[in-house]
């Protein structure tokens, strides 16, 4: 994917969540955001994913400039996939229905087709036996995997994942990370934020360090983790890598 963000500003009251953030990505499959809590990773993902509009600045993804117009943004969201930290699924629908409903109502597939596609997506991630269950009857890891299955069932151009594992215990984290890696290997374009440095190193083509609403540094994982340039990034990495 290609991505160009220029001087993005997003404020919430007095907080400047994005403070003149710029980022250029020429050709990358998996782009990973790391950085301190409150640095602006989620906000950046939400702006890039078309869930929120920046107060200033502009974004071009794969040649398409994001507009502020709601209908345009909705069309943009429809061709991408998004997964949040937690509580993604609709609790009143079964896992299968969670995947099939958007396919039916948003993408215009017939109910039978939507169901077939949803079953396929569940099957792909080893979840077919859980299709009839409500989210509350699934483990946290299974819920996130169904969430990912829902996001990729309609073959998104870009898959946005915001800290997909931060609400999970280590075992479930591993099962979700494995799934994301598989998707990346199958050629899915992904932009994600994470606190799992080992995973970032393994899966990313490019890593961007986000702090105080700006990109402090952006490079291939080997460079950024091996030889960080900015002092903020050095301090952050030495702190999180200590344990």
């Amino acid at each position: 994917m290609k991505l160009e963000a220029t001087s993005l500003v997003k404020t919430y009251g007095k907080t400047r969540a994005l403070d003149g953030l710029s980022l250029v990505v020429r050709d990358s499959r998996v782009l990973v955001f790391i950085g301190p809590s409150g640095g602006g990773k989620s906000t950046l993902l939400r702006v890039l994913g078309g869930l929120e509009t920046a107060d200033q600045g502009n974004v071009v993804v794969n040649g398409e400039t994001l507009t502020a117009d709601p209908a345009g943004l909705q069309a943009y969201r429809r061709k991408n996939g998004f997964l949040f930290q937690q509580f993604n699924l609709f609790p009143h629908l079964t896992a299968l229905r969670n995947i099939a409903l958007p396919l039916e109502k948003v993408h215009g597939h017939s109910p039978a087709d939507a169901r077939g596609m949803a079953e396929q997506a569940l099957d792909r991630f080893g979840l077919i036996d859980h299709g009839h269950k409500l989210p509350a009857q699934l483990s946290g890891g299974q819920q996130q995997r169904v969430g990912i299955a829902r996001a990729v069932a309609r073959k998104p151009e870009v898959l946005f994942l915001d800290e997909p594992t931060s609400a999970l215990d280590p075992e479930m984290t591993a099962e979700v990370l494995e799934l994301i890696q598989e998707l990346a290997e199958d050629g899915q374009d992904i932009i994600l934020s994470t606190h799992e440095m080992g995973f970032a190193k393994a899966v990313a083509d490019q890593v961007a360090f986000v702090a105080a609403g700006r990109i402090e540094e952006s490079a291939a994982p080997a460079g950024l983790f091996g030889d960080p340039q900015s002092p903020v990034c050095q301090r952050f990495l030495s702190k999180v890598m200590r344990y």
Binding site: L83, F87, H92, P102
Partner: protein, 257 residues
């Protein structure tokens, strides 16, 4: 357990004794005058009144859903003016008695405005205006119930719904309402029970519903118990199933989530 068993028995005996004493005294006083054949003679008027009450309840229930939705959406409107007007109107409706709405709404506002044309079309203007006013009144409460239900759905649900590409209407229809409805159904059924009871107030504008017809029967035939007992039973027959439905729904949805 044993001690409770004893206490329960004693309380039950005391209650039975009290009710028994009360009814024997009352019946002893009325005994000679109570004549159930009177009620039988008037069965047709009573039956017609009961059907009208049933019809009013169903129509006003549908009407109150329409108004409730409008009031709920009005309060969530992006336009400040709409939100404030809505709030003020709801506050006014909920802080004044239904009796006042009916008298004021019928005699001051609607009767002079549309009674004549309605009558010329062959409609029963009192009935229609009564249903409308009742719908607005109950709709004001329902709007509040629905707003509470919609507000109780976490923000992440709106976000996820937007993220999968649903339009605003689809978000309400497929994600928010189904969840909100589960939470407010018991309260809605409770409101329906009030609505059925409140429909008796329509007698003040002369709608020939169950209470109105029974009242006429009582005053015309000097009936006592034989008028009031069917009156109470007639309303119970309508409200009890709804109350049961409410409890059943509550139980069912509790297991589901």
């Amino acid at each position: 357990m044993k001690r409770h068993l004893l206490a329960n028995t004693l309380v039950a005996l005391a209650l039975v004794a009290l009710v028994g004493w009360l009814s024997t005294t009352v019946f002893a006083m009325l005994g000679t005058q109570t004549d159930w054949t009177k009620a039988w003679e008037y069965r047709e008027t009573l039956w017609r009144g009961w059907l009208v009450t049933l019809g009013i309840s169903i129509a006003a229930f549908c009407g109150s859903i329409v108004f409730g939705l409008l009031f709920m959406l009005g309060q969530r409107s992006p336009l400040v003016v709409v939100r404030w007007t809505c709030r003020a109107f709801l506050e006014f409706v909920r802080d004044t008695p239904l009796l006042v709405h009916l008298l004021f709404g019928y005699f001051v506002i609607f009767a002079p405005l549309i009674s004549r044309p309605l009558g010329e079309q062959g409609w029963d203007d009192k009935l229609l205006i009564g249903i409308l006013l009742l719908s607005v009144f109950e709709g004001a409460y329902l709007g509040e119930i629905l707003r509470g239900g919609v507000d109780s759905i976490p923000r992440t649900q709106w976000e996820s719904a937007r993220a999968v590409g649903f339009s605003k209407l689809q978000i309400y229809r497929y994600v928010i309402f189904p969840q909100a409805l589960r939470r407010v159904l018991p309260a809605m059924a409770g409101l329906f029970v009030s609505l059925i009871k409140d429909s008796s107030l329509l007698n003040v504008i002369g709608v020939a519903e169950y209470f109105y017809n029974t009242k006429n029967f009582i005053s015309r035939s000097y009936a006592g118990l034989e008028g009031y007992v069917p009156l109470a039973l007639g309303y119970l027959v309508l409200t009890l199933p709804v109350a049961w439905l409410s409890h059943w729904l509550e139980k069912r949805f509790r297991h589901e989530t």
